[in-house]
Symmetry: C2
Subunit: 304 residues, 2 copies
């Protein structure tokens, strides 16, 4: 499935037929017409096909997980949560269609996402189906994404430490990467060992990506916006770089990349078709280089 096919599938997998209330229809259209980078569904599709899922199951699962992710962003941007104004180059849905319209849109995506996941899972072996539905529930629910979001919202009450920020990252970021890497393999012909290795990669890369995000936030302040403090710190949001400092955060990112590399090499020995994951690893490395360069620029700038 190429980029265009994924974009089309994202836009068209929630059929808006029949007599839908116009405000709801417009809000859903707004979301379906403004996809993100769609890196996630591409990856889900590749993992799924590498582990032998059919084209249609791989496709359903990739769009389903992107709909879950998009719904989580719609909620996250609400005034009572992160109060975002812009997302994916367009005004946030709640800015244009109000809070209630946004909530109903997010719930429409979630409802469709479960339907698509269900259909994707129906072809797998019975024990794999049961394992997959429990895994999905765990990653999205009070043990996973929802817990991470609640910790995030209540961060001001918690100690601003590495442990807290990484606990939040495990809930929010790692849960979605676990679904991306592990769930499609679980439904296919993976071994228990494959799943263990994918779990480890999801953890290292999830925490790694969170550090990249946090470093960008901390470093963008002086260099880009002229503000003296970064947004996360200003708003009392969890940020690993703010908790342990930029140099230690960069070192930790390097370590996660190395651990991820080692795990990926083991996986590739028995499953060479997963080689596309190397590309993602290069992305992470490129991000590391960019933030390291930025850190040097900022530190020079502060000497002026």
């Amino acid at each position: 499935m190429d980029s265009r096919a994924i974009t089309e599938a994202f836009s068209e997998s929630l059929p808006l037929t029949g007599n839908i209330e116009p405000n709801l229809e417009c809000a859903i259209r707004h979301v379906l017409d403004n996809p993100g980078s769609l890196v996630r569904p591409r990856m889900v599709y590749q993992v799924a096909t590498a582990y032998g899922l059919s084209d249609s199951s791989a496709r359903d699962l990739s769009i389903a997980l992107e709909y879950f992710h998009t719904a989580s962003i719609l909620f996250d941007d609400l005034p009572c949560m992160d109060n975002g104004l812009e997302r994916r180059g367009a005004p946030c849905t709640h800015v244009v269609f109000g809070e209630s319209g946004t909530i109903l849109t997010a719930l429409s995506l979630i409802n469709r996402a479960y339907g698509l996941t269900w259909r994707a899972i129906a072809d797998s072996a019975r024990d794999r189906q049961a394992e997959a539905r429990m895994y999905l529930e765990q990653c999205l629910g009070v043990q996973g994404l929802l817990n991470g979001q609640s910790l995030d919202l209540n961060y001001s009450e918690l100690p601003h430490t590495l442990a807290t920020t990484e606990r939040i990252a495990r809930g929010k970021t790692v849960s979605m990467i676990r679904l991306t890497l592990v769930l499609p393999a679980m439904l296919g012909d993976s071994t228990v060992r494959d799943l263990q290795l994918l779990e480890r990669i999801a953890l290292f890369w999830g925490l790694g990506y969170q550090i990249v995000d946090d470093l960008k936030d901390v470093l963008q302040g002086p260099a880009e916006t002229g503000k003296t403090a970064a947004r996360d710190v200003l708003l009392n949001r969890p940020n690993i770089a703010a908790a342990i400092g930029v140099p230690d955060a960069a070192k930790r990112l390097e370590r996660f990349i190395a651990l991820g590399d080692r795990t990926l090499q083991i996986l590739l020995r028995s499953r060479p078709s997963m080689n596309f994951l190397n590309l993602l690893r290069h992305d992470l490395d490129a991000e590391l280089k960019r933030v390291t360069q930025r850190a040097m620029d900022v530190s020079e700038g502060s000497l002026l």
Copy 2:
């Protein structure tokens, strides 16, 4: 499953184990400790066992549908929707735990509800599973509950007619009653004819219950609160009795009860184990008598 068992199952089917963020845990506990009348899950359980589902599937499905319903109420009560203050004899969840905590609680219930439905469905025949997952998606999604909620929220822009109010009632009220009566039968040994009859009963009773609610709202004003207008009219909310008048609404309710009776009698000929539905029909009739009496009291009161 008796009343106590249902209350326990409602309270205990969303396990709060592990390291859950305390605010989220308290908000979920608040909801699980304040169930409604639990008429719906009792009915789901009875339909499911009448159509041959196992005790555990019937139980899972009954709690799942009550969790979906409870989540819809949590969203419905939010300030951006109906702005409720009290529910089930306790302060609304958002009043105590804030909007974000309430949204995460509702999403926790939804996530668990899909998990329970999935488990309940897994034992049924493969074609019945596919039919059931599409039916659930249709009743909850943009063709059903979510559309009804969006119409409800945008009622001020719509013509205040019988057609509009019943379209909203079909989306909001009838969708949940369809799930209650039809979904459990669909998973069991029902015939196509059984499902058609249950669809009709769900429609007549769903619209009937909505008229009861609307009549109560219109009639409570002068008699109970001393206000001259009812809440729905004051807030520009859909209300069938306000749209066509109290006498016509009462007549329409009588007609729906008669149509429901006729359909139920046909169903009972081939499926006598569904006789418990007669009890529900008597409830509806008792409500009709109460609102008719109230209408007479109010009309006498207005002569004073």
